[in-house]
């Protein structure tokens, strides 16, 4: 194994170990999305009687949301961990080694991706346990996990950029409500074509989070939908590239060497 790859693996392992050793960081992303899923499934299941609603199971419809929420948690964990490293001087210690900056980012994000995929497996398992069967089959499950990895990378890179730019865990955490606003004005609770209020429908239509949710949702309830997949992967890929570029630019300034 090359030295750089070895460093990436060790830094990714550190990222996972840190998260595992903070139970709140594990339980939060697993429990809160499931609680929201339970509440929404109970309160909004009457939506399935609306003409044109794409499924008879609201749980299947809403199961897409935890995947995006999980990625948001990955953003927070990845960003706050990095900000803490900056605040405690641990990043200075890393800066004094021959480690490549790219290895640091890759390691940090490798950890976020690993946790993102583990979370996705958990959400899927819960879905299967309550009777949801992905319409896209086993292949769709693999695509879903791949998509989970991509959005964990995209949001994790965004969190890392915020941490590198501000050096403050509090600043990173302040992004969380902003992301949640995007989540709530998306198609998380109702298909866009069934939203009656015009401004809300328009907001959900221009909100990229809607397309991330619809990508996951398509694999669960409609099967293979090329347009939804292309939009979801395209937007997640764009966010990932943009966030990685910004984080990559901010890293040398923070390493200051």
């Amino acid at each position: 194994m090359s030295t750089t790859l070895d460093q990436v693996v060790l830094l990714a392992r550190r990222s996972v170990v840190r998260t595992v050793r903070q139970p709140a960081n594990i339980l939060g992303p697993l429990i809160f999305p499931m609680m929201l899923l339970a509440v929404n499934s109970g309160g909004l299941k009457a939506e399935t009687h609306l003409p044109g609603f794409p499924t008879h199971s609201f749980v299947a419809f809403a199961l897409a949301v935890p995947f995006i929420q999980g990625a948001l948690f990955a953003t927070m964990n990845s960003g706050t961990d990095l900000a803490r490293d900056i605040q405690t001087g641990f990043l200075n210690r890393l800066s004094l080694t021959p480690m490549r900056g790219a290895a640091l980012l890759a390691g940090q994000l490798g950890g976020a991706i690993t946790l993102g995929v583990v979370q996705a497996c958990f959400y899927l398992a819960v879905g299967l346990a309550v009777g949801v069967r992905p319409a896209s089959g086993v292949g769709g499950v693999f695509v879903l996990l791949l998509f989970s990895a991509l959005i964990a990378l995209a949001f994790g890179a965004a969190g890392s950029f915020a941490a590198l730019k501000t050096g403050s865990g509090e600043a990173v955490q302040s992004l969380f409500p902003i992301f949640f606003v995007f989540l709530f004005i998306s198609s998380m609770n109702i298909p866009r074509n069934l939203i009656g209020v015009t401004w809300f429908r328009d907001a959900a239509t221009i909100n990229p989070v809607s397309y991330l949710i619809e990508c996951v949702r398509s694999l669960i309830i409609t099967g293979w939908n090329g347009e939804a997949l292309a939009l979801g992967f395209g937007i997640a890929g764009l966010v990932a590239v943009a966030a990685l570029t910004l984080a990559g630019r901010a890293l040398p300034q923070r390493l200051a060497r």
């Binding site: 001087g89 200075n92 210690r93 004094l96």
Partner: protein, 329 residues
């Protein structure tokens, strides 16, 4: 051919935005295998100097070479040569001591097969073998400092920077760390640049001391030479019989200028060596019995006082107020 383990600094300046010159044109040279104590109060510019020398902070002006490499132009070569334990022990509270060492070994690109051995060796050397698998958040301040030192030594650096390594440690931990630092310089030939605000630390550990105040080096030399520069030792004697006090003072007056003493006689010796035995012989010859005899050597605080007009012990408080709001110094 490898460069010698020297540190050479010429006209080094660091100016922070809207702040004072934290380091204002310092010059110094540290020889291979030497322990150089950089002494000064809080805010004097010690840590800023270290950050520049370890390549974490670019200088505003001047040059610095560590082990022959320029800290600005040859950063990677400098970093490959040095080890550093900065002011705060930068550790991850959620990792164990052993995990820290394994990670550091990998990041320092040690061969895989050497990592375990080197980690175990360093854990043993700093006395952390038993605590190696405990999370660092449960370590005491002394244990964290020792782990910090071990991490700085993973890649066998030729030059070691220690920024206030014993601040906040109990006397036992401090003494253990001094022993290890002295051993590194003596046995391994490591050049050590050590900042401290403790007079005793600089006095005991350093081969040479640079005293920094407000970004300027105000004195430099061996602790003995610096102390000799500002004053000769004072000898104070208390007679067993108070009736001998006048005779005692008369005898002492032969050896230097009389100095004030509340209970006995005191004299500022004309020279540091030889006089003490002569004084004892003279007192004995004239049958003056002595209850107590003390030689007061000048301290580095006296040096600081002579150079700056302030005592080092109180200077930190003064400087805290002056540097508040500026970047770390």
């Amino acid at each position: 051919m490898a460069h010698p383990n020297t540190i050479e600094v010429e006209g080094l300046v660091r100016q922070f935005k809207k702040g004072p010159r934290a380091v204002d044109g310092i010059n110094l040279r540290v020889e291979p295998g030497e322990i150089y104590g950089f002494l000064g109060p809080n805010g004097a510019g010690k840590s800023t100097t270290v950050l520049m020398l370890v390549t974490l902070l670019p200088p505003t002006a001047g040059t610095a070479r560590v082990a022959g490499y320029d800290v600005v132009k040859e950063g990677p070569a400098v970093r490959a040569t040095i080890g550093a334990a900065l002011q705060e022990a930068a550790l991850d509270p959620l990792l164990t001591g052993r995990e820290h060492l394994r990670l550091q070994s990998a990041l320092q690109a040690l061969p895989r097969e050497d990592r375990r051995t080197r980690s175990d060796e360093l854990l043993e050397r700093v006395g952390l073998t038993e605590a190696a698998d405990r999370k660092v958040r449960g370590y005491s301040g002394g244990m964290k400092r020792r782990l910090d030192l071990a991490l700085a030594l993973v890649h066998r650096p030729r030059v070691l920077f220690l920024d206030e390594p014993t601040t906040g440690l109990d006397p036992q931990s401090r003494s253990a760390l001094w022993q290890e630092v002295a051993r590194l310089a003596r046995d391994d030939g490591v050049t050590v640049f050590l900042t401290t605000q403790y007079l005793e630390e600089a006095d005991v550990l350093a081969d040479r001391v640079g005293i920094i105040d407000h970004g300027h080096i105000v004195a430099e030399g061996t602790p003995a030479a610096l102390k000799a520069e500002v004053g000769r030792p004072t000898l104070e004697a208390i007679p067993a019989d108070p009736g001998d006090l006048e005779r005692l003072r008369a005898i002492l007056a032969r050896f230097g200028e009389p100095s004030p003493s509340s209970k006995g006689g005191a004299v500022r010796l004309a020279s540091a060596d030889g006089d003490l035995a002569a004084v004892v012989r003279a007192l004995d010859a004239e049958h003056v019995r002595i209850e107590q005899l003390q030689v007061h050597q000048p301290s580095l605080d006296d040096v600081f006082l002579a150079k700056t007009g302030r005592s080092l012990e109180g200077a930190a408080d003064d400087d805290d107020g002056m540097t508040m709001g500026s970047a770390q110094t």
